[in-house]
Amino acid sequence: MNNINPDTNQEFCVIGKRIPKLDAAQKAMGRAEYIQDIRLPGMLYGKILYSKFAHARIVKIDISRAKALSGVHAVLIGEDVPDKMRMGFYKDNPPIKKGKVCSFRDEVAAVAATTPEIAKKALGLIEIEYEELPAIFDPEKAMEKDAPIIHEMHKSNVLNLPWHLDYGDVEKAEKASAFVVEERFTTQWVTHCCLGTSGAIALFDAKSNLTIHTNTQIPSLAQKDFLESLKAMGLKNKRVRVIKPIIGGGFGSKLDTYAYEHIAILLAHAVRKPVKILFDRAEEFKATSTRQPTVIYIKQGCDKTGKLTFRDMRMVLDNGAYTSWGATTPSVMMMPITSLYRVDNVRYDAKCVYTNNTYAQAMRGYGNPQATFAIESTLDMLAEKAGIDRVEIRRINKNHPGDTTPQGFKITSCGLSECIDAVQKQIPMDGPKEKGIGTGIASLIHVGGGARIYKSDGCGAILKMDDYGKVDIFTGGTDMGQGLDNITAQIVAEELGLFVEDINVVHSDTDVCPWDVGAHASRSTFVAGNAALGAAKKVKETLLAYGSKLLNVLPEDLVLRKRMIFSAKDPEKTMPIDKLLRKAHFSPQGKMLMADFFYDPDNENMGKDFKGNLSVTYAFGAHGVRVHVDEETGKVKVLDYVAAHDVGRAINPLLLEGQVYGGVVMGLGYALTEEVILKDGETMNANFRDYKLFTAKDAIRIKAPVVETYDEFGPFGAKGIGEPGCVPTAPAIANAVYDAVGVRITDLPITPEKVLAALKKKKG
């Protein structure tokens, strides 16, 4: 690993070092303050009552007994919610439902009481008369003409969304192809399983300004949502302050605002006291969102040499009863569809369809794992049909630096080839085969330099230095456990010649931190990192100017390193940085050093045709796996796993490996065991006993070779790595299962039942 700073030609002091998470000890000792730990004076506890039916009219609600219970301060129903208070970008989801319910997850009433027990008891006293309506749970059936309509204001269950692209000439290319494969794939509901359950505390001050403590990955956009709620409540020109406690896991689950947050606001406003709503584990499973489930139809073709000729995909997405970011995952699915490997002719169409199921949200990879499952599974099928080695077909079609893909993505750095090399070195894909043992490979592309899905992809940072050589940096970026605080501290420390312990990262309060679009799209290291670097560079310039005056050295000859400033030419000319800061402060017209920087990457919003350079740079990777399949039970055992990623540069290899390990284990769960089981719309496994999250004992040793391509736009060359780890895991496993026993599983998760059923079918 090259660890030389290209700007100074000196070895990095902080960048590239395996520095443990700054809050690791705090968390291990139980001192970290999560939403669970926060109690405010006079605080009440809110609880939510959910629907008893998947689809029903609310005929009557009687809250009188609940209201009369001692300790109950407020009971709210749908009629108490202002009409304009609606969540999600499609604005189809009021925080408490009125008139009818469309899923078991529908909120029908909420209570604030002096204790959680009283609040729970009050829920039991609310009497609701329902009139059940015909419900629909299969998205393909929900598209049929006579299907029950879920939202009467729309004439159809199909959402009006623009997910369609058509580049080149797919039909012509198909005719000209030497080999074509076609398949249908389905993927399931899985959920984030954050160890810290969801929660929020809302309170209003005397002037009706709102403060909300909430687990969020999007402090600035959540603030916008809450401002809109206040406006709907008739509270105009009020302020909203979002304070984010330490988060016990995000993975995309906190990328939208949820009903419980808006209900906490409504309750707090009704009682004029702080109101806390905290989910228990069952509620976390039932009332937070999942990964977007899909039905995928795919066709891919290649010419005689194995070069891809076209890719034609169509999807039906179960939108559930309401709309959140799950319905926008096709925008990210487009990335692997158009740009994973070189393929000129591409067509894609996705329909999001209302059903009476739960609704989906963002989840690590944002649609990419689903699309990659279909693409990489069929690529193996195509290789077999064409008689080409499955690694070779990936090499033939790999992306290259300098490529512009059909969608207009400009590939700057690209280490895909090196990633495939690394996989092959660890897990040879050819050679003699043992019975029941198989190998599989799958690759990925993901955004690695921001993703312009909003009007701004920016992040701000404010940096100040004190008299002792210490830094406070206020960043818009959000640490949700992934370690952005470390990355920010390391970048600032390196640039200013300090150590990480000199850097205090503040990222939790919209009153003091600048704007940021959110911790999503693997963008934080790249975007928040560049914002921090920009602010540090500005302060550095001032520091060097002062140093130049005091040490009588040209600024360009000065070096900041290990808390000292010195001349590169004459190391005798030196001074501790803190002393320099005091000299700057305590002199006539003294100056404290501070700077702000707003970094908005030079990427493009996608146009109406979905063309545009979404990200400044792209991350690549390849995963390889060796499995054993028990042919009598259908059980798949993962023996070896290698996940190679092009990360630009590893700012902190320890955290980077952590991201990859975590991603891969999440991907393995997606591939093999995890599934939210819905029976007629109702969650049947709202607990860790029956939701088969991998345990520590299931987690296997994962090798995570790092390919460094030093991206010219990344902070010190880094690209994003938050999501890629779980992107190609499922197809790598499916390909290995096929290699082992010759059955192709097209429906996730790959359970022993499915494998055994396929084996029996094959044997006839």
Binding site: T633, G634, D698, P752, E753
Partner: protein
């Protein structure tokens, strides 16, 4: 969670008198890995929890070398059984079962008696004790009585225990020489897992190590309560045990089972797993006998 008083008797008699004083509102607790969860979730709302943990005699694990009888106090934890070399060597079926219950933490707290009395169809602990012809000793306000372990269970979560009665210990009669045994829990994960199906097999061979003189095929999650596949057992007795014979026994056991579809697994796959694992466990029994264990 509803508040409760926590009582800590130091003898079985004291525990029973505590129970009699509070009767309906009192509950016994052993390791607490099931009871505390139920109390926290509000599924059980006792005013008094009577902890049995301090009753020394119920925590003893002892093999009478003279008679060959094994006595397992109801409070013996899964971890104690798992760590015992005697259990591992002489009762491999029991070791197989307890060493895969829950997690290390659960095994440190959870007890074999609690596992039985909780009476879930998936109780890993019940299967080996049934295969080993275990006998449960119960002690209640009306005195002591005993029954076969398999007869403890009436329905899911229901045992024959009368109000105030305590499962004191399980005794295992001496095992014949040339006996082998094994248990498989078929599940999806490596820890914190309930069996989708649990299969325990015990075989005893005659002096020539050929003909089967005793067979036990015990199944968990195959019926509302732990069951023996007695048709398959009878089929094996008197036969020379070969793989082909074990395949037939597996088929019989699968047919005898009353497996169901549930969110955890399908009936057909469970039946297949019985077929496969009766054979595999049977072969393991033969291997152990051959090794001289």
């Amino acid at each position: 969670m509803k508040a409760f008083k926590y009582l800590i008797p130091e003898s079985v008699e004291a525990a029973i008198s505590f129970y009699q004083a509070h009767s309906e509102t009192a509950r016994y607790m052993a390791g607490g890995t099931d009871v505390i969860v139920k109390v926290k979730e509000g599924w059980m709302e006792p005013d008094y929890l009577i902890s049995l943990k301090k009753i020394q005699e119920m925590a003893e694990l002892h093999k009478n070398e003279a008679t060959g009888e094994l006595s397992i106090g109801a409070l013996v934890t899964h971890a104690t059984l798992e760590k015992s070399l005697m259990i591992r060597n002489d009762y491999p079926i029991l070791y197989d079962a307890v060493s895969n219950i829950g997690s290390l933490q659960v095994r440190n707290m959870g007890t074999i008696g609690g596992n039985l009395i909780n009476a879930v169809p998936s109780a890993d602990g019940a299967i080996p004790l049934i295969a080993l012809d275990g006998v449960a000793l119960l002690h209640g306000p009306e005195g002591e009585r005993s029954c076969k372990v398999i007869d403890l269970f009436i329905a899911p979560y229901q045992t024959i225990l009368k109000p105030g009665e305590i499962l004191k210990k399980i005794t295992i009669p001496p095992q014949a020489p040339l006996t082998g045994s094994g248990y498989t829990k078929f599940g999806r994960r490596a820890a914190m897992e309930l069996p989708l199906i649990g299969i325990g097999v015990l075989l005893t061979l005659d002096e020539e190590s050929e003909t089967c003189t005793k067979a036990r095929i015990c199944l968990g999650v195959a019926a509302p309560t732990p069951m023996r596949a007695q048709g398959a057992e009878a089929f094996l007795v008197g036969k020379k045990i070969t793989e082909a014979v074990l395949i037939q026994a597996g088929n019989l056991a699968a047919d005898e089972s009353r497996v169901r579809d549930s969110i955890r697994g399908t009936a057909w796959h469970r039946r297949e797993m019985i077929r496969v694992h009766v054979r595999r466990m049977g072969l393991r029994c033969l291997a152990l006998i051959k090794e001289g264990r």
